[in-house]
């Protein structure tokens, strides 16, 4: 697959203040991610996976070095510019789904498009398409509280991909799911990755996720321990 880099991490370091000192979550990370990658950040808790995703997603900024996402330096972005970058180019999938509790499934997925000021008919078309991808058209009027964990994560996936972002960042997406649901959502994501050429970056320590990855970046104590391409065939049809 020919890939152009859409994410570059250059000497990326992130420190958090702890008491009088600080804790270094990421130490001098240098990584590149290309268009259409299906990559995973793996490692134990505290290894810096979520921190890296947050910085790539412009939810946090580097202490040293830089992260260039879609040609924009995260360190240089204002709040407004960072919000715009997320709005236009990045989709998030969270471990705890983070669905908006008072919205229906349809409204949750539609939300991202409303921020893009898309007109109603275009929104409706895109939302229905996203719900079809994840197989939840019959649940579009349900509230998150009426969904199972697997269904909730599918809604989160639909919400992340509905605006056709260049990048989807998934933080432990299968952590709260059983094996069957984990495989289901991973197959869905893999399929979307192949169909839409969306770059997926996961943080995970779930073995089930790893078997779907094309690239596995192992983090240990805030450093890249291993960065390996995995060549395997995964059954993507459900």
């Amino acid at each position: 697959m020919e890939q152009s880099n859409i994410i570059s991490l250059r000497h990326l370091t992130k420190k958090f203040p702890v008491g009088d000192g600080h804790f270094t979550a990421l130490k001098d990370i240098n990584l590149e991610f290309g268009k259409g990658e299906f990559a995973g950040l793996v490692g134990p808790s505290g290894s810096g996976k979520t921190t890296m995703l947050n910085i790539i997603g412009s939810l946090d900024s580097p202490s040293e070095g830089d992260a260039i996402v879609m040609g924009k330096s995260i360190s240089a972005l204002s709040h407004k510019e960072a919000a715009r970058l997320r709005n236009e180019h990045i989709g998030f999938i969270f471990q705890e789904y983070n669905l908006l509790p008072v919205y229906s499934v349809y409204e949750n997925v539609e939300f991202a498009l409303m921020l893009l000021k898309m007109n109603e008919s275009a929104r409706k078309k895109a939302v229905m398409e996203a719900l079809e991808w994840v197989g939840l058209t019959d649940k579009m009027k349900s509230k998150p509280s009426q969904l199972s964990g697997g269904q909730s994560q599918r809604v989160a996936i639909a919400r992340a991909i509905v605006k056709r972002p260049a990048i989807v960042l998934a933080d432990e997406p299968s952590a709260n799911l059983d094996a069957e649901n984990s495989h289901n959502i991973l197959r869905t994501m893999k399929q979307l990755n192949q169909e839409l050429q969306t770059t997926f970056i996961f943080s995970t320590h779930d073995e089930k996720v790893m078997q779907y990855l094309d690239r596995k970046i192992s983090l240990l104590d805030g450093r890249v321990d291993k960065d390996e391409l995995i060549s395997h065939e995964v059954e993507t049809s459900s």
Binding site: D60, K80, A83, R86, N87, E96, N98, A112, M114, L115
Partner: protein, 386 residues
């Protein structure tokens, strides 16, 4: 526009929680307007009653007359100025007297007033003596204090212009009901002509009440007192009541706004993850602040609508049927106070209060929402408020 739609979606989606807030706030709206309407109605009624029963369109007072000093009454009378329109003026002669109901002695003011006057609401037509015993009318408070009723006869003693005591039996022709105790307590009203004869003070008056708009002839014995002067005491009482009304108004408003503020603060604590999600999905912080502010403002608008649903029929009913105030009636209050108050819900009061609550609610919604601007999205997503 998107923020308005999202705010509405959030509010409607929150269901019962929103409606509870709305109902509580709508009650604040209704109570604030009810209270102020009642006080305005009371004030307006008091003024109207005072003018109708006592003040007319102003008065001419004898130079010596001081309503707060009874000793002035002996000398406070002079000839009624010439050229006065009898239909537009009500001369009153006031002297001190004593009555002896059931063997007790009561000091009273004996007031002479033309039986055919049309300016004041006093039922002086009842004084038209058809040649029988001298007749008098008294108010219900006086009747109660003196244990007198219609048809009773009572001995009255007074001094004539020479200071000589005289006495006679009078008949209580009528007991009238007024909300103005200033024409009731300790007073007996007789026909002006009769009192002239009793005192020998022919064509003399202590004061002259004028019809509204009647031009005052100048006279050396009388000084003109306009309504502004005559109503000063009442206006002072109303002004002081308005001061205390203002305190209650602020308190009620404060309670309503505190409820909104608390709800917003609680929302921000409870909805941190949601806030983090909004930001992760591409909302700017200022837009999230705007969303929460609009939600707070929209709650107050919904509350205004819900309040209107039950408040308007309630206010319409109260404005037409009045509110009975039995315990706080004029019986002993000393000021004009009706036993039934008809609230006045003016356009200014309703719209002003609504606007004030909505604007204030929006401001107090904004204040805690600003905290969102300081939230780190990564912490908000974890539900940790900094």
């Amino acid at each position: 526009m998107t923020n308005f739609r999202l705010a509405l979606r959030n509010l409607l989606g929150a269901g019962m929680k929103t409606w509870l807030n709305v109902i509580v706030l709508s009650m604040s709206f209704v109570i604030i307007i009810f209270y102020n309407g009642m006080m305005d109605g009371w004030n307006q009624q008091a003024r109207t009653e005072n003018i109708a029963w006592e003040m007319g369109g102003g008065q001419l007072w004898h130079n010596e007359y001081d309503p707060y000093d009874l000793f002035t009454l002996n000398d406070a009378h002079a000839a009624i100025p010439a050229g006065m329109d009898q239909a537009q003026t009500v001369p009153q002669l006031i002297i001190q007297a004593s009555v002896y109901p059931q063997g007790r002695m009561l000091n009273v003011l004996l007031k002479g007033i033309p039986a055919d006057q049309q300016v004041l609401a006093l039922p002086t037509a009842e004084l038209k003596n058809e040649g029988g015993a001298s007749q008098a009318i008294i108010g219900k408070r006086m009747a109660e204090n003196a244990k007198l009723a219609e048809g009773d006869q009572v001995l009255i003693r007074w001094r004539d212009k020479n200071g000589t005591f005289d006495a006679k039996q009078i008949t209580i022709a009528h007991v009238f009901d007024t909300d103005n105790p200033a024409v009731d307590q300790g007073q007996i009203w007789m026909d002006f002509a009769e009192l002239e004869k009793m005192t020998g003070l022919e064509n003399e008056a202590t004061l002259i009440t004028l019809a509204e708009g009647y031009e005052v002839p100048e006279d050396e014995n009388f000084v003109h007192k306009g309504l502004g002067v005559l109503m000063k005491d009442m206006d002072d009482i109303i002004a002081s009541k308005k001061g205390s009304m203002g305190i209650v108004y602020v308190m009620l408003m404060g309670i309503a706004l505190l409820a909104i503020f608390d709800t917003q603060v609680l929302s921000i604590f409870r909805r941190q993850k949601e806030i983090g999600t909004y930001i992760a999905l591409g909302m700017t912080r200022s837009r999230v602040v705007g969303l929460f502010t609009i939600e707070g403002g929209a709650v107050s608008l919904l509350a205004a609508g819900v309040g209107a649903l039950y408040g308007i029929p309630l206010f319409a009913y109260l404005a037409s049927n009045g509110i009975d105030i039995p315990t706080a009636s004029a019986e002993g209050a000393g000021i004009t106070m009706a036993s039934k108050i008809y609230p006045v819900y003016g356009f200014g009061l309703v719209i002003g209060t609504t606007l004030l609550v909505v604007i204030a609610a929006t401001i107090v919604s904004y204040m805690p929402a600003r905290k969102i601007a300081r939230l780190k999205p990564t912490e908000a997503l974890k539900g940790k408020l900094q």
